[in-house]
Structures are given as C-alpha cells and as structure tokens.
C-alpha cells in the first residue's frame, strides 16, 4: 500500500508526539524508590545488626564461613571505606560504621554490562535480578563501583540456617544483591531492614513524590552519596 511522503512525515510526527506524551504521563504518576540512611541515628546503637539479620532471614541469604565467598546484601563498613577518598584524617566519622547496600543507581553500570539483561532496571527504579537468566559471568560484579554484589561460589543451601519458606534461595553460579525487598513492596510493606530498625535510621520512600517522607528529609538535611563523580546516580542517600 503506497503512502505519500507528506502522510508518512505527518504520521511519524504524530507518533513521536504520542510517545512523548506517554512518557510524560508515565513520569507524572510514577514511583522511584529510594532510601535515606541517617548515619547519626544508626550510630546511637553501634552494635546493632537488626537490619542485616532481617534482610538475611527474609531472603535466605547464606552465611558462609569462608570470607572469600561471603554473600551479603546489606552490611556495615567503616565510613572512610564506604566513602573512599572522601574522608579526611580529622573527621570524627572516620571509623564509624555505616550501612552499605546496592544503591539501585539511576544509571547503573551493572545493567549496562549484563549480556543477558538478567539484571535490569524496573520502571519503579529498582535494579532487579533475574536469577533464572543469569549465566554467572560476574561482569556485573566487575562493573559495580560499590562492591554491592555477591556471587554464589557454591550451593548456598547448606549455609542457610533458618530458611524462610516465603522466599526462594538462590543456586550456585548466580550473582545476587539487595532488591529493595521488591516482594514486600508488592504487598505494600516496607523493606525488611527499614521495618526492623529500632532507631528508624533507614527511611524508604518514593523519590518522585515531592511530599514523601524521604523527599522532605533530603530537602531538610545535608546528605551525600557514594562515589557521585562516577555518574551512576545512586538512589541511596546518607544523611550526615
């Protein structure tokens, strides 16, 4: 069927405009999950590991004795290690532990490099893992500038001490990481780490909603992100 050049150009133009409107409409009502970590509140209980335990239990994260094979989704690092080369010798925060986890970056290098799209960015901002598709090449682990990802160097089942029947385990040969508890968000619950924190140091919410608690917190308190110069746009903010 023949179409005149004028009609073709007109239809293409309309198509482009339509697509743009769809994107804008999607952006207007959208969700962008993010987390703010209040380092001072967290330090009020320096030996607390409730968020780590909650996450490990909720997701059947294995506890491996060999430090080379550690699998961790959220854990503590000293401040000057989490914020490498950003902390001077006179800072009181130098050795203070901070929680680190996957930053669910807006421009994630791990998603960029995955050859099978086994790790991908959802519309709501979560960088998700598809354990069925992962070929275990570990390219995402090389690409992640934050060291957020862990690999299953062997079958993890023997190292899961109290399996949670509500969530699968993983198998050997796949990469895993924090998923912002997408399975809990799907039923309207906050992430496990956020829910269990006794000091309410972890604040989770919709960054696209200007009236959300997290947005108000970020607007009122000074905060920083890990390795901002890399352009990854991490969505985990540290209130300092």
């Amino acid at each position: 069927m023949k179409i005149s050049r004028k009609d073709f150009l007109r239809l293409s133009g309309l198509g482009c405009v339509g697509l743009t409107f769809r994107k804008l409409a999607a952006a207007a009502g959208r969700t962008r999950w993010g987390m703010a970590i209040d380092t001072a509140k967290c330090l009020k209980q320096p030996d607390c590991t409730k968020c780590i335990e909650a996450c490990n239990h909720a997701h059947n994260v294995p506890q491996l004795p060999d430090p080379r094979h550690t699998v961790k989704w959220i854990w503590k690092e000293p401040f000057d290690r989490a914020f490498l080369n950003q902390v001077d010798d006179y800072s009181p925060l130098r050795a203070a532990p901070v929680m680190v986890l996957c930053n669910h970056c807006d421009d994630p290098p791990c998603v960029r490099v995955c050859p099978t799209q086994a790790t991908f960015k959802r519309d709501d901002g979560i960088v998700e893992m598809d354990y069925h598709r992962c070929i275990g090449c570990r390219y995402c682990m090389a690409a992640c500038p934050y060291g957020s990802r862990s690999f299953n160097w062997q079958d993890p089942r023997a190292y899961i001490h109290q399996p949670n029947p509500d969530f699968p385990t993983r198998t050997k040969g796949v990469v895993e990481k924090c998923n912002f508890c997408s399975e809990r968000l799907a039923v309207g619950q906050p992430p496990a780490c956020v829910a269990v924190c006794p000091e309410k140091a972890l604040v989770f919410g919709n960054l696209a909603d200007p009236h959300s608690e997290i947005r108000q917190l970020l607007a009122s308190r000074r905060h920083m992100r890990r390795k901002p110069e890399l352009g990854t746009q991490p969505q985990v903010f540290y209130i300092v």
């Binding site: 070929i135 299953n152 890399l230």
Partner: protein
C-alpha cells in the same frame, strides 16, 4: 574439504605428543567436572577478585588470535612475498587461539548451561554480547579463509575470487576482536586500573608482539622437527614486527606509570602500587610483575640489536621472553590487579587453586591439539615443503 584424514597418520613422535596432550586434557576435564559439581568456589576467586586465571587467559589469547592479521595484512594487501607461506600458520593459530578463548569463557561461567541466553536475549549495550559475536565471527572467518586457501593449494588452483573479500574483512575484524575485549574492561567506572583510553591500543600492541613472537617460535619448531632449514626471510620480517610492537607496548605501559604517579590520584596509583610493590603487606603479584618487566627489558635488548636479532637462538630466546612477559602482564597482572584494591579499598589477594590450574592447562592442551592437527594438515598438503619459496603462478592467491 577439511582434510582431517591427513592428521590421522604421523610419526611416533607425533602420536606421543598427542597422547601427552590428551592426558593433560583429561586432567583438565576431570577438574572441570569437579567444578561443575561444586561450583566456582573451588577456584581461588573471591567476592572481591571475581575474575582470575580463566578470564586473564582469555584476554591474552584474544591478542594472540588477533595477531594473525600481522601476517595477513602485509601479504594480501601489501604483497610482502615473504609471508606467502606463513599466512596459513597465522590463520590456524588464530583458530586455535579463538577456540581456547571461548573455552576459557565457558569454564568461567557460573551457569554454563545457560550460555545461549546471550544469543536468546541479545543485549547490544553489553560488550560481552559483542565479544561473543566478534569471536565467533573471527573463528568462522579464519576457518573459511584457511581451509579455502589450503584446499586450493592442494588442488594447485587459484583460490576462488570471493576469498579476497573475506580476507579483507578479516583484517579489521582482527583489530575489532581485541578492541572489543579491551572495551569489556575500559568502560567500567569502578575499576581505575582499566579505565584508561590507552587500554585498547595497549592490548593491540602487546597482541602484535606476543602473537608473531609465538608464530616465530612455532615456525622454528616446525622447521626443526621436520629437519628443514628455518625460513629465514619470513622470520626476520616477523621479528621486525615483534620488535616494533614490543617497543610500543612497553612505551604504553610506561605512559600508564607516568599518568598515575605524576597525578598522585590514589585510584590511579593504588592498583599499580599493588602490582609492583604491594599494598599493606600484600604483595603476591609483585615478583611476577618484576619478572615480566625484566623479561621485557632483556627481550628488547635482544630484539633491538640487529646482531642478536639475526641470530636464530637469541631471537628464539627473545621471542620466548616477549611471550612470557606479555603473558604475565596481560594473563596474570592486569585482570587480577584490576580488582585490587576493592571498591572499599580492601586488598583480597588471589592465587589460582590446583583445579583451576588443571583446567587452564587442559584448555591450553586443547589449543595445542588443534594447532598440531591443523599444522599437520597444512604440512601434509604441502608434502613436507612447508616453507618453500613462493609457489607457482597458478597457486598464488593474489598477483
């Protein structure tokens, strides 16, 4: 077409060599079975150093594979007659090397049964996807070129006209396979040792030094084993290429040092510091790197002085040193040190485990087997006259 029957007859030495290779392959296979069963945890890899011996060998061998272009380009495009008899050796070396590359990637995968996911879910923004495409394409290209030209030689006819286009394609393709491999590393924002624009040129320079060096050694070995005189002219021309490429490769490495240690930027200096001096008491890689530097320096002396370069034994020593030096640099140093220090500044050292080494040796044995069989075919076709002067006009490829 493939003339494999020519590989089924051979001298006693030939069969003993193959038997040794099969033994090494068997050891590797048994170790790989253990790895499939237990997981990649039987290697020396860790959460911090996630790529090690396997991927490093792959990186090095892509260079060796790409180096076939260093004989193909001068001969087919610039009509350097000296390389007439050598192109087939370069192409067969490329086939063996690319096969080894693919095997190293395969044994490094956590879920190897899912390897076809890369093709089922093509991902153009991932360099690993393009790496698979370019390696597979290069393998096919070289196989087609090598077997077509060899078959034509056997029938004493000129190769078909279309082979010219395929050969011309293989030249940029060779450059592309190693550029794509470099791109795997130098686009990663978190790994400062690799985040350098000069990585692809470094890879190409070291490829064009190590590959032809190996080719020289192979030509000398074949000549010796078959009681033939060493093909002087092609080897000397290749030696010139090795010399220039090695000089450029060492120059590039020194450039890296300057950028890092003059700028004093910690991210740039720390990995290099680990490689050559160690960090926080951890210096497992340092002896290797210094040996690599020493071998490079000595080999350059032997290559740059014409009297030494023209001397067969010294040239062989120099080529061996070039190969080992660059193998250490690319095949051990670069990949492992890219992960040290970790994104948290921690140093987790890496040593390959025994199963890892056995699997690696097994794959090298596979490559050696492929190379032996293919060279045997070429040798049989040429009826033992592997390095004769330029063949008759009818059999010449491009006049």
């Amino acid at each position: 077409m493939l003339m494999f029957e020519k590989a089924l007859t051979g001298s006693r030495r030939y069969w003993i060599w193959l038997a040794c290779l099969f033994a090494v392959m068997l050891a590797g296979l048994l170790a790989y079975r253990r790895q499939l069963d237990y997981g990649l945890g039987i290697t020396g890899l860790s959460r911090d150093v996630t790529w090690g011996l396997y991927i490093a060998q792959f990186t090095f061998l892509v260079g060796v594979a790409a180096s076939a272009v260093m004989v193909v380009l001068p001969y087919y495009i610039h009509h350097v007659k000296a390389f007439a008899r050598l192109t087939i050796l370069g192409e067969f070396l490329a086939i063996a090397a690319v096969t080894m590359c693919m095997l190293f990637i395969f044994v490094d995968m956590g879920q190897p049964t899912r390897v076809f996911n890369v093709l089922l879910y093509p991902t153009p923004h991932s360099l690993m996807f393009w790496d698979m495409i370019s390696l597979a394409g290069y393998l096919v290209l070289n196989a087609v070129i090598a077997f077509t030209t060899l078959r034509a030689e056997r029938e004493s006819v000129a190769p078909p006209v279309w082979i010219t286009a395929v050969i011309f394609l293989s030249v940029p393709w060779a450059v592309s396979i190693h550029t794509v491999t470099a791109f795997l590393y130098n686009g990663l924002p978190g790994r400062s040792l690799w985040l350098t624009a000069i990585l692809a040129p470094r890879f190409l320079a070291s490829a064009f030094a190590s590959g032809p060096a190996l080719l020289i050694l192979l030509a000398m070995i074949i000549a010796k084993v078959n009681h033939l005189p060493s093909p002087r002219e092609p080897i000397q021309k290749l030696a010139t290429i090795v010399t220039y490429a090695m000089v450029i490769s060492v120059f590039f490495v020194l450039m890296e040092f300057f950028t890092a240690f003059y700028s004093h930027i910690p991210e740039h200096t720390e990995s290099l510091r680990y490689m050559f001096a160690g960090l926080g008491g951890h210096a497992r890689l340092a002896p290797w790197m210094w040996v690599s530097m020493l071998l490079a320096a000595v080999s350059l002396v032997l290559l740059l002085v014409p009297r030494y370069r023209h001397h067969d034994t010294l040239l062989a020593a120099a080529c061996g040193m070039v190969f080992v030096s660059l193998w250490i640099d690319k095949g051990i140093g670069l990949i492992v040190a890219g992960f040290i220090p970790s994104p948290f500044g921690a140093v987790t050292e890496y040593s390959p485990s025994l199963p890892e080494i056995l699997i690696t040796l097994g794959i090298w044995a596979v490559g050696a087997l492929i190379l032996t069989v293919l060279y045997k075919i070429a040798f049989s076709v040429r009826e033992g006259v592997l390095f004769s002067p330029t063949p008759s006009a009818k059999a010449e490829v491009l006049t």
